[in-house]
């Protein structure tokens, strides 16, 4: 009694495995040869295209990986041997690129404090603190700026030719500000000056970074450019002092010391500067899930509902899909095709739009459901009605898929099996319960498990309908229909901006939960397969 759905796959795999060893290279048709050449050329061309920015940015590691990948691809496909590798390579590369690397990256992020205010390096934080503290000196002059040079426009050392509101002209460079004689001032700015060549806008723009960096020291600070046609006297309010590894406010002398464990500058009373940097925090994000009352408190309750939601969605869609499949399985039914097409329709619609429509259908005052049935149910307002509502939506969205696979699996069960059962005296129910269902489950259990795993993390199903509502009045953190993923998403991204490190730690935990459940389920399925095959 072998499940037919499974065997052909095995056979093909087996044949292929025994195929390759001693055979001489197959001759491939001209079309295949051309296809191969074009595909490889495109690959190489893409690689070259991608290599230029890597070289420009001096990303040698990235370049090395790229060269290695292209070399492996060319080697495998240009050599007449290694047939299995030819089949495995694209999948393996995609697996590494889209599964292994993100997982490693997530785990890597989980042990940092990466997030808003902790995105870059300490040096970047210091630069940000200092630049954002540069203020215009109170009562200082606003200058009209002409960028000029004593040498050639493209490379000569820069000077600032400045005109104050009274019309007096100055020249400023690293030595300070001096009056400028022999300058033509036109429309409030220097248009020509002896011994200097003025940069036009294009030239100044080309040397933009130099213009931005250029400062003319004064008693109270320094004159800096604002754009390329104005300058102001500014003073950095906060400066980094490498000796004490701290930031000091020049006006008040207040000090914020660097805390390299948390990646922030903090003063004696515990106030932090907004700009911090990314540091390794070890397992702090993981311990926070357990120790932080706001996180750990509702965790157990949400987990139970989450399991119920995933199981309810998976089993509910399976039951409904199977029911439809059984009903349409009878060859005597007329218009089967039409029914099948109608049943599959929900599957063909984009679930995003459908979720939003269902949200509106469940609206208390304006929703279709309440109006049609003349009900007054506050669907998303009560915990249980909201839970029933989201599962109903999942049922509607998910059953066509189960209907499809169940139809396929039913057709794969040989008729003789049913006939044999009937001859042995089994009724319709017994036949279904003892023969058809077990055979179906052999083929469909893996799908059920993956459906469970998918629904366990079905973020959109909740976020586009209830958004986790209803929320208990005294706890805006955890809602009645919140799944772990929506609950954690809110914790990691709504408060204090984005906390990627914490979010990554949560993802790892959810991943672990789903992995354990799936592993146990698969083990049990295998045991079942052994019984029935």
């Amino acid at each position: 009694m072998a499940g037919k759905a499974a065997t052909p796959l095995l056979d093909r795999g087996g044949r292929e495995a025994s195929d390759e060893v001693p055979r001489p290279p197959r001759s491939v048709g001209l079309g295949g040869q051309i296809g191969k050449i074009v595909a490889l050329s495109v690959t190489v061309a893409l690689a070259v295209w991608a290599a230029f920015p890597l070289v420009q940015q001096r990303q040698w590691l990235g370049l090395g990986i790229e060269i290695a990948v292209v070399a492996v691809i060319c080697y495998v496909y240009l050599s007449p041997r290694r047939v299995p590798t030819k089949y495995l390579l694209p999948g393996t590369l995609l697996l590494i690129a889209f599964q292994v690397v993100p997982v490693l990256y997530t785990v890597g992020t989980a042990v940092t404090n990466f997030g808003d205010g902790h995105r870059g390096s300490k040096a970047e934080a210091v630069v940000a603190i200092q630049t954002s503290s540069v203020t215009r000196v109170a009562g200082s002059t606003e200058y009209a700026l002409s960028v000029a040079t004593r040498g050639t426009a493209g490379t000569g050392p820069l000077v600032f030719l400045l005109v104050d509101p009274a019309g007096a002209a100055f020249v400023g460079d690293a030595d300070g500000l001096r009056p400028l004689s022999g300058a033509t001032v036109n429309g409030g700015r220097v248009t020509a000056a002896e011994g200097y060549s003025l940069l036009n806008i294009g030239q100044a723009a080309a040397r933009g970074p130099e213009v931005t960096e250029f400062t003319v020291p004064t008693d109270r600070g320094a004159i800096r450019a604002q754009g390329i046609s104005a300058a102001y006297e500014g003073q950095a309010g906060r400066l980094y002092d490498a000796d004490c590894d701290c930031v000091r406010e020049t006006a008040t002398g207040a000090v914020w010391r660097a805390d390299d464990d948390e990646g922030v500058f903090v003063n004696d009373v515990g106030e932090r500067l907004a700009q911090g940097w990314k540091v390794n925090v070890g397992f702090a994000n993981f311990t926070r899930i357990v120790t932080d009352g706001a996180v750990a408190g509702p965790f157990a309750g949400i987990l139970v509902w989450n399991l119920a939601f995933a199981a309810g969605s998976a089993l509910g869609t399976f039951a409904l899909g199977l029911l439809c499949a059984l009903a349409l399985h009878s060859p005597k039914l007329r218009g089967r095709r039409i029914y099948q097409i109608l049943l599959i329709l929900p599957y063909a619609m984009p679930s995003f739009a459908m979720l939003l429509i269902w949200r509106d259908i469940f609206n208390t005052d304006f929703g279709l459901l309440n109006r049609m049935l003349d009900l007054d149910v506050d669907w998303f307002g009560g915990t249980w009605s909201a839970r029933i509502a989201v599962i109903l939506v999942q049922l509607w969205l998910g059953y066509p898929y189960m209907f499809l696979v169940a139809t396929g699996a039913l057709q794969a069960i040989p008729k003789e099996v049913g006939e044999a059962a009937r001859i042995d005296g089994a009724g319709a129910w017994q036949q279904f319960r003892r023969v058809t269902l077990p055979l179906l489950l052999v083929a469909l259990s893996p799908l059920l498990i993956s459906s469970f795993a998918f629904n366990f993390n079905n973020f959109t199903a909740i976020y586009l309908t209830t958004e986790g509502a209803p929320f208990p009045a005294d706890n805006p953190g955890a809602g009645g229909t919140d799944l772990l993923i929506t609950y954690m998403f809110r914790l990691a991204f709504d408060a204090q901006g984005a906390q990627y490190g914490f979010a990554a730690a949560i993802s790892v935990v959810i991943f672990a939960i789903v992995a354990v459940i799936s592993a146990v389920a698969f083990r049990r399925t295998r045991a079942q397969e052994e019984v029935y095959s």
Partner: protein
């Protein structure tokens, strides 16, 4: 880019030739000379991108640089932060002023030193909006705030108080002319932005104000007796009271209730004007009325602004552009034509006011409004405040709900 294209063409040719295809190798095109003044990249949302495109081309010519403008239709703010972090941001970004706290925290934008004359050319509240920690971080181009939209056929009388509004709405409901008293989005999770005017009229506040006029994250007003009193008043408007506020009205249906003439009053902003006009509703725009004998209803005032990226490649030109071109009425007018939000530039505002009285009315409704807090602590307020307001509209007990929301907010502020 040129070099890359040429390289690809060459590599394709080589690869084809090497593979024995025998096709002739196309020669690499000569690389064009780079533009003398470099280029400027601007990120904005779709609407503004379309409107700005012809104008920036002209400004680019004047400046002698190529200005490119790219539409980022979704998540402009996080995308900009991520791009900054990887060292590859656009030179200029256009967005709302309440992002400033977060952008500064992430070192993504730099202060802009406007001259006194330039500062003076903007509405005072617009400059206040883009000021953070005493520094101006963006050049504003538009201000926006909520107002009351009234269907003048259904409700010919302007209500002076919320109570009058409710009475008028109830009467319309009884006579069957309307089905709702007021269209204001609440939804299942609440909407702090729309609730704020009613909350302030009831006497509540979110953050106290420091002596220098900026919001103080250490003085949270949610959870104090005044906020509880305010929410008691809001609860009376809710589902267990007058039924003027409902969780069943959210963003998805608030506008259609008003344009479909099912509600005579709507609380919304300038972004709704175009749709209301299109629906052919005879309307009037007024300040949001407050509770009788209470404080005036203060809407949040939001400011749309241009920011210079701290890690941009062409900061000098970007600063030049925002300081000298965004301050031109011409640009403000074009942005206004794309979407009728009141221009922040006084000269431009006066220009459009003559042809569009609605803009002036929106601006009037925003008088006495509170600038939306840009401090990072505000991120902790939206969610708990919104949910508390939804719960209270649904009839939850006020003191426990508001106290819990206040605690949730203060717990998260470090």
């Amino acid at each position: 880019m040129r070099i890359r294209t040429a390289g690809v063409v060459a590599a394709m040719g080589l690869a084809l030739a090497g593979a024995g295809c025998g096709s002739d190798t196309p020669s690499a095109e000569p690389s064009a000379t780079a533009g003398a003044g470099g280029s400027l990249m601007i990120w904005a949302d779709d609407k503004r991108t379309a409107a700005l495109k012809p104008l920036v081309a002209k400004f680019g010519q004047e400046l002698g640089v190529t200005i490119e403008i790219q539409a980022v239709s979704e998540d402009l703010h996080p995308k900009f932060v991520t791009a900054s972090q990887s060292g590859n941001p656009p030179d200029i970004m256009i967005g709302a002023h309440d992002w400033i706290g977060n952008l500064v925290q992430n070192g993504a934008i730099d202060p802009i030193q406007l001259t006194d004359a330039q500062r003076g050319s903007f509405a005072e509240i617009a400059v206040k909006g883009v000021t953070f920690n005493g520094q101006v971080y963006g050049v504003p181009y538009a201000v926006e705030n909520l107002a009351l939209f009234r269907n003048t056929e259904l409700a010919p009388q302007a209500p002076a108080t919320l109570e009058e509004l409710v009475a008028a709405g109830k009467q319309l409901k009884q006579s069957g002319k309307a089905t709702e008293i007021l269209s204001m989005p609440v939804g299942q999770v609440g909407d702090a932005y729309h609730m704020y005017p009613l909350y302030t009229s009831g006497g509540g506040y979110l953050f106290g104000v420091k002596p220098d006029g900026e919001y103080d994250p250490k003085d949270v007003g949610v959870g104090n007796p005044a906020s509880i009193a305010a929410f008691e008043k809001i609860r009376k408007l809710g589902e267990k009271g007058d039924g003027a506020l409902k969780r069943s009205i959210g963003h998805e249906n608030a506008l259609s209730l008003f344009t479909g003439k099912k509600a005579a009053f709507m609380i919304s902003g300038p972004w709704s004007i175009a749709d209301v006009k299109k629906a052919g509703v005879k309307y009037e725009i007024e300040p949001i009325p407050g509770f009788a004998g209470a404080k005036p209803a203060q809407p949040f005032v939001g400011v749309q602004a241009f920011y210079v990226a701290a890690k941009g490649k062409n900061k000098a030109i970007a600063q030049e552009f925002v300081a000298n071109y965004v301050t031109k009425p011409e640009l403000a007018k074009v942005l206004y034509d794309a979407e009728p939000r009141p221009p922040a530039l006084t000269a431009a505002f006066d220009q459009v006011k003559a042809s569009d009285p609605d803009v002036a009315k929106i601006m009037d409704a925003g008088k006495g409004g509170a600038i939306m807090p840009a401090i990072p602590a505000m991120a902790n307020v939206w969610d708990p405040f919104g949910k508390a307001s939804a719960a209270i509209v649904g009839g939850a007990a006020v003191p426990a709900t508001v106290t819990a929301a206040g605690k949730s907010i203060t717990d998260k502020i470090k």
